[in-house]
């Protein structure tokens, strides 16, 4: 399984590019370790460690969420490649054993990919600037514990969620309540949510209570084991899932959808088909959730920064508009992941044409929801006066992001974003304008004239980039096949 995972990742680019990820993490960790005293000028060591572990915990959560996918994941395919995890149906292997194997594989693989090089980088820096090596080891152990807790929690919740949606809703509500209890009301410390932090807080330089530290260590390990056990027990022995459920005869939708897209000329049948796919595959619901969840998270985070941490940052409607524009791009992945596209090879249709049809669908779907969100935020914040600027920010960033994504990844964003060079380029093209617009949005009220001019200049630049990338879609993707 580990070998398959490695080969899958290097197939996205090359072994050299893939191995650049841990090297990159190592370098960043070394730089952070070397400049730790400077960093401490802006943020306290305890806050730094807390944020680091929160990040690692979230990383673990994202790794362990595959339990949701059930049979879809077990039968995971990349084009025509099959994986050993598709074998339980053919070999005398139980789904429980297979899922446990997949879980352990992911734990080992992603520990080795990120946390180990981070630790080695931390250690390398510590050797130069003479930080305590024991402290480095404690930080590493804490990070591993946070990761294990996150991955096992996510695995357990996602497996239970795949069996029973109500149980999933209850669990997620309980976790959110726990977060609100800490964030909004400070009813308990962060170590109540993330016991690995209790281990760290009890050891130098934050404390010297070895006994309590050991208690938190054991508690975290037991939680990890219990959650993993729970997940494995709840793995369904016989997945039918969506892919296994057959539906009866369906009413003919496509012919009735076609007239609605008459304006799209040669794209008419492609758009009609995309909308039929969206409805029948259930992707519309997943997309809506994927879009609304980060918006809710964003709203909560900004509220928490302002009210929970009492940091007076001016999150205004322009800021939200930029963020929504950047978040929306995730929906493009859903659109390209609804179904196989092999059959297009038999038709007089090019890859760029299918990409453009998906871009059109993206615009139809997202702009309405995004506009509604920005209008709502401006109304709630009494900032409707900023809408004239916020709406162009939303539209330009949305289109820029999705066109950049489609240019870089074509019809396979989920595969290409695993390629470090593509990921690097995408990070660059998305992060730089995002940071620019975020910083500028904070000064809208302070210096409206200059800020507005600067924001419009950024938007103009993004619009030009969008146009260039859109025109180059043909050159980049015309010679490629659908598979």
């Amino acid at each position: 399984m580990l070998r398959e995972e490695y080969r899958l990742h290097i197939s996205y680019s090359s072994a050299r590019m893939f191995l650049a990820i841990p090297v990159f993490v190592f370098i960043i960790a070394t730089i952070m370790s070397l400049t730790l005293s400077n960093i401490q000028g802006s943020i306290g060591l305890k806050d730094l460690v807390t944020n680091l572990n929160a990040g690692v915990f979230l990383y673990g959560l994202s790794v362990g969420a595959f339990g949701f996918l059930g049979k879809t994941y077990v039968e995971r395919r990349q084009g025509k490649q099959n994986f050993i995890v598709a074998m339980p149906a053919l070999l005398p292997m139980s789904y429980c054993a297979t899922f446990l194997g997949m879980f352990l594989r992911d734990v080992i693989f992603y520990l080795a990919l990120m946390l180990l090089p981070a630790f080695l980088g931390l250690l390398a820096g510590a050797l130069v600037v003479h930080h305590s090596l024991v402290s480095c080891l404690v930080v590493f152990v804490t990070m591993v514990l946070s990761f294990l807790f996150g991955v096992s929690l996510s695995f357990a919740v996602s497996v239970i969620g795949s069996r029973n949606r109500y149980a999933f809703a209850v669990l997620v509500t309980a976790i959110l309540a726990l977060l609100v209890g800490y964030g909004a009301f400070r009813l308990y410390g962060m170590e109540t949510i993330l016991p690995s932090l209790g281990f760290q807080y009890c050891l130098p330089p934050f404390g010297s209570d070895l006994g309590t530290a050991m208690m938190f260590l054991v508690l975290t390990i037991l939680s990890f084991l219990a959650l993993t056990f729970l997940a494995v027990v709840f793995v369904a022995e016989s997945y039918e899932g969506e892919s296994g459920r057959k539906k009866g005869p369906q009413p003919d939708k496509l012919p009735s959808y076609l007239p609605r897209f008459a304006f799209a000329r040669s794209y008419q049948p492609l758009l009609a088909k995309e909308f039929v796919d969206l409805l029948r595959s259930g992707t519309l619901g997943k997309m809506t959730f994927t879009f609304i969840a980060p918006l809710t998270f964003l709203s909560f985070t900004t509220w928490y920064v302002n009210n929970g941490l009492n940091v007076p940052v001016g999150f205004n409607t322009v800021f939200y508009a930029a963020m929504v524009g950047f978040f929306g791009v995730m929906l493009y992945s859903w659109l390209t992941n609804m179904d196989v596209v092999d059959y297009y090879e038999t038709l007089p249709v090019s890859v760029p044409k299918v990409i453009r049809s998906k871009l059109l669908v993206f615009l139809f779907l997202t702009l309405s929801i995004s506009t509604a969100f920005v209008l709502m935020i401006s109304y709630l914040n009494n900032e409707t006066r900023l809408l004239w600027l916020a709406l162009p920010v939303l539209f330009v960033t949305s289109v820029y992001m999705v066109v950049s994504m489609s240019y870089l990844t074509g019809l396979h964003p989920n595969s290409f974003l695993f390629s470090p060079d593509v990921l690097f380029k995408f990070t660059l093209v998305s992060l730089l304008p995002d940071i620019c617009l975020t910083i500028l949005s904070f000064s809208v009220d302070r210096d409206p004239l200059v800020t507005t001019a600067a924001i419009l200049a950024v938007l103009g630049f993004l619009a030009v980039c969008t146009y260039i990338l859109y025109r180059r879609l043909d050159r980049k993707w015309a010679g490629t096949g659908f598979n």
């Binding site: 539906k247 005869p249 369906q250 003919d252 008419q268 009609a272 038999t346 038709l347 249709v349 010679g479």
Partner: protein, 241 residues
């Protein structure tokens, strides 16, 4: 002499270090039922993808219906019908909807009548409302065949068209292809069912390791032995005993 429907000269396709096609040359005259045979991995599917403009060749010349396959793939696919190696109609369209979609993309006239004809031909009327993902493999193959035939193209590329079909529909399809041959349509067939291919094909090429190892008229090449024996003899070195 009829104009060639397909002209391939010194065609090469290299994937990384693998030569999928290595100097392939042949011509398919218009109105010919042409067979392309070879063991697994010989390069047949790559050849078919290049001929239909899905994959560009590394070097060489490829013309289909007088169009250069390197840069006029869309025009080629407008004029031809293709049955791919793997039957994969869109999961969330019904059989009827997929044929409607194909007919719309291909701007076919009198769509309903043509869809009805193929639904009847392959006995898909009762399952026309079933999502393609819920159809059996054989049914999906019938849908893909219908999609390739619906615009009545002058040239057909068929990659293992008989796979997954029961003997009744294998026979029915064979009779239909023979009719097309009589009408002067050109058919390019890749198949491992050599007995069937021998009955259908007029000319053929055998490819192994990306190279042409035999080509000519089927009648001449099989005068002394049947196609299966010829095939095994030509690629014999690679056939486990």
């Amino acid at each position: 002499m009829a104009m060639p429907a397909i002209e391939v000269r010194d065609l090469r396709k290299k994937y990384s270090t693998v030569n999928a096609l290595d100097g392939v040359t042949f011509t398919v005259p218009e109105g010919t039922f042409f067979g392309c045979f070879g063991p697994n991995g010989a390069g047949k599917s790559t050849l078919l993808k290049i001929l239909t403009g899905q994959v560009p060749p590394t070097s060489g010349e490829v013309k289909v219906l007088g169009l250069d396959a390197r840069d006029r793939g869309i025009e080629i696919r407008e004029r031809v019908g293709i049955v791919p190696e793997v039957e994969s109609p869109p999961s969330y369209l019904t059989a009827y909807e997929f044929l409607y979609f194909v007919a719309e993309v291909r701007k076919v006239d009198d769509i309903e009548a043509k869809i009805d004809r193929w639904l009847k031909f392959f006995d898909l009327e009762e399952t026309k409302g079933t999502l393609c993902k819920d159809l059996s493999k054989g049914m999906r193959q019938k849908v893909m065949l219908s999609a390739a035939f619906i615009h009545e193209p002058p040239l057909l590329f068929l990659d293992e068209p008989f796979v997954n079909l029961d003997p009744i529909y294998q026979h029915k399809l064979r009779e239909y292809l023979l009719q097309l041959r009589e009408q002067g349509r050109t058919i390019f067939l890749c198949s491992h069912i050599l007995e069937m291919a021998q009955k259908l094909c007029q000319e053929m090429v055998i490819i192994n390791h990306g190279k042409v190892i035999a080509q000519g008229g089927v009648a001449e090449l099989t005068a002394q032995e049947d196609l299966e024996s010829l095939f095994l003899r030509m690629v014999g070195e690679d056939v486990p005993t």
